[in-house]
């Protein structure tokens, strides 16, 4: 019998005082006992609102039922019917917005910890050698190339391979994973997990290649001669800056640069690794999204005295996941709300010494319903800092669109799709941040899976 009223298992975490000094994963995977206790809470509702709320449609009650039987390999296969990257999803999906947000137990007892269970299944099945990628369908003889190796492209490539196509993934950097690798820190998503998920996709027969920047190394037009279809999942990849005085002072990083140094280049291991990073005594992170949290928490691990996240609205409007904000706070990151950066202050050597802010109050809601910050006249103040990280978002990188004149974009620079989800070029599909401008891993993966379906149709109908 299910036991919904038993307390929700939240697993164990590294203590904040310990983890703020290392890059090891914050949360531990469930133990077998924890997993069983948590799985037992699931009511296996026939209407499965959790599954309906999952953009990828993971068979949630079914996989949890298999956890209860102890056949973790079978649970993994159940998840992999719809999602081929379960160890990543279990860790970085905003479950509170999707599956767990719709769990019938939510109000009374607290939702089933679906993310924790998914992660447990992926990690355990993999450790047991029971995480088996699905056998691809018979070869179709069609060749497809996926541009980028981030979550969107990886998901698309895996699904296309499952359908029997000959699939190649092209990555511009020297390591696979895209934003999972350069953006998300190892304490949220260990590098080993990314490596293993990529290996699983490789085992299915997808070919991978590093150091190919489409639009530079080879053009999209050239790719179309070699492949029957193209998926563009090249991500955002162009940092937005503030455009304020002093922004090029020494000591000012974009979040992309800061995170890439730490995560992709592993600058925190310098001089064992060769890429340096500099974090001063006082760090200010400008922005309130997940990248801002990641940057602040990375900075915290590089031994500054203070790390402050400065956000122009209040805590309520902050776009970052609540859990990330909480983790950052536990680790000692401070928050300064309702402030707008006006100038990066620097010394005579051009090195940053602080940020001049204006204080805001909340005004009327904007088009998204978030209350707009309104500056309070005469409220300027300078907060001292020797490192400033600008984390105010990204736009699509124009490398491909600039070199492919026939590929239509919107005024925001994202690739335009028609009502059927196709780009303006025949055989070219796109998804993830290159059509969204800057969204989540889950939405990117979902776009990749959806596009794989469209590409199948396109290739089948040819």
């Amino acid at each position: 019998m299910p036991n919904p009223s038993s307390p929700r298992q939240n697993g164990h975490q590294q203590e904040p005082s310990v983890r703020k000094n290392n890059f090891e994963e914050v949360a531990h995977t469930f133990t077998h006992e924890e997993a069983l206790l948590e799985a037992d809470r699931c009511l296996n509702c026939p209407t499965h609102p959790c599954q309906n709320a999952c953009p990828v449609g993971v068979h949630i009650p079914a996989f949890i039922a298999k956890v209860k039987t102890g056949d973790i390999g079978a649970a993994a296969s159940e998840i992999m019917q719809t999602s081929l990257l379960p160890a990543i999803c279990g860790r970085v999906c905003p479950q509170e917005k999707h599956c767990e947000g719709h769990c019938v137990l939510k109000a009374k007892f607290g939702s089933v910890n679906i993310g924790g269970l998914e992660r447990y299944v992926a990690d355990t099945a993999r450790a047991q050698g029971a995480l088996k990628p699905p056998t691809p369908c018979e070869n179709t003889g069609k060749k497809v190339v996926c541009i980028g190796s981030g979550p969107s492209s990886l998901a698309c490539a895996a699904e296309l391979r499952r359908a029997g196509h000959d699939v190649t993934v092209l990555e511009a950097l020297h390591a696979y994973g895209g934003v999972l690798r350069y953006g998300i820190p190892s304490f949220r998503l260990p590098r080993e997990v990314i490596n293993k998920e990529v290996e699983t996709v490789q085992e299915m027969g997808v070919k991978f290649k590093t150091d190919v920047l489409v639009g530079a190394t080879i053009t999209l037009t050239e790719l179309l001669k070699e492949y029957d279809a193209v998926y563009i999942g090249s991500g955002a990849g162009l940092p937005m800056m503030l455009g304020i005085e002093g922004e090029n002072a020494v000591g000012v990083y974009s979040a992309n640069e800061f995170l890439t140094r730490v995560n992709l280049m592993q600058a925190y291991k310098f001089p064992e690794t060769d890429t340096p990073i500099r974090v001063g005594k006082n760090v200010i992170v400008l922005g309130g999204g997940n990248s801002a949290m990641d940057a602040a928490r990375c900075a915290m691990r590089l031994s500054p005295e203070t790390v402050t996240i400065a956000y122009r609205r209040s805590a309520e409007e902050m776009p970052a996941r609540a859990a990330e904000v909480e983790h950052a706070q536990e680790e000692g990151v401070q928050f300064e709300y309702l402030v707008t950066p006006k100038e990066v202050v620097k010394d005579e050597y051009g090195h940053v010494t602080g940020v001049r802010f204006t204080r805001n109050e909340l005004g009327a809601p904007d088009e998204k319903g978030r209350r707009r910050p309104v500056e309070i006249a005469g409220s300027d103040f300078v907060m001292p800092a020797d490192t400033v990280i600008v984390a105010i978002g990204q736009r699509p990188n124009p490398t491909i669109t600039k070199t492919t004149p026939d590929l239509k974009t919107t005024e925001r620079g994202v690739i335009a799709l028609n009502e059927k989800g196709e780009t303006s070029l025949k055989g070219v599909f796109a998804g993830g941040d290159i059509i969204r401008g800057g969204a989540t891993v889950l939405l990117a993966m979902n776009d990749g899976i959806a596009a794989a379906g469209k590409i199948n149709e396109y290739l089948g109908g040819k």
Binding site: D211, A216, G237, N248, G251, T260, K269, P271, N397
Partner: protein, 284 residues
């Protein structure tokens, strides 16, 4: 023959090596003024290096590397037959090669190698090419025969007078103009102070200057913004918008400050390597 393999290695002087590498896709796509990003080992840095030459038919690219820190020292220790771990490119915007009339092409030190493909392209476009090659001393003047082959006039100069005229590239340029040469555009690559002063002089002499910038870079694809430079009062990314910019409005002082950000860390890296390998890299 495999991708990234060094087919030919040639020592140009004590600290400068030339590599011919098998990399067909880049060889096919390369244009003058573009660069590649090299990585030598796991854990290694991504280092931007100018494409000096390429041969689409043979599938090769040529780069010239000066040992200035740990990474470049390690690149230069690679042997013929070895492979670079990663090579990404061609990156950056190609130089706008047009027939300007008469052009001055100015290279300082290893910048001579970087300016060579531009001189070659300008010559092919029908320009009268006056090349000024500057270095501290004779041994550091590299690629002189190659530059000669693509120039109408070639003027080497050294600080110590051991080769060509004694003096700096700016002295030579001034003499050329004073002797009555009308120059329409100038392309300069070398140490930042040299580019700054040469560009300034060019403006005074009525020559439109262009300089190729070498800020700190990471990915080289426009993703990180570490290579921010100020040109015409606007923030530009050298990796995608450049590396060549109209030099009239480049904020060279900011560039000098930003490229100096990790000087102490570079020293740490060298010391760490020397300690590990119980050796001296002999870098200056």
């Amino acid at each position: 023959m495999q991708e990234n393999q060094i087919l030919l290695k040639e020592q140009l002087n004590e600290v400068v090596m030339k590599f011919v590498i098998y990399k067909p896709l880049i060889a096919k796509a390369a244009k003058a003024g573009q660069f590649v990003i090299l990585r030598g080992r796991e854990g290694g840095e991504r280092v931007p290096v100018t494409l000096v030459d390429w041969d689409a038919q043979k599938g090769t690219i040529t780069v010239i590397i000066q040992s200035i820190g740990k990474s470049t020292f390690m690149f230069n220790s690679l042997k013929q037959g070895d492979c670079f771990l990663n090579i990404l490119g061609p990156l950056g915007t190609a130089v706008d090669v047009a027939n300007y009339g008469t052009v001055a092409v100015v290279g300082g030190g290893v910048g001579i190698a970087e300016v060579y493909p531009i001189a070659k392209a300008l010559k092919e476009a029908g320009n009268k090419v006056i090349s000024i090659l500057g270095a501290r001393t004779k041994e550091l003047v590299i690629l002189e025969p190659e530059m000669k082959a693509v120039s109408d006039v070639i003027l080497p100069c050294t600080d110590d007078g051991s080769h060509g005229q004694k003096g700096m590239v700016t002295d030579v340029l001034k003499n050329v103009v004073e002797a009555g040469e009308k120059i329409n555009a100038g392309f300069v690559i070398g140490p930042i102070p040299m580019m700054k002063f040469t560009s300034k002089l060019m403006l005074e002499l009525g020559i439109e200057p262009y300089a190729s910038l070498n800020p700190i870079m990471l990915d080289g694809t426009g993703m990180c913004g570490g290579c921010r430079v100020t040109v015409e009062g606007k923030v530009r990314f050298a990796c995608v918008d450049g590396p060549m910019f109209p030099a009239r409005t480049i904020d060279f002082d900011e560039l000098i400050r930003r490229t100096g950000e990790y000087k102490d860390r570079e020293k740490t890296a060298v010391e760490h390597y020397e300690k590990d390998h119980q050796c001296k890299l002999g870098l200056h």
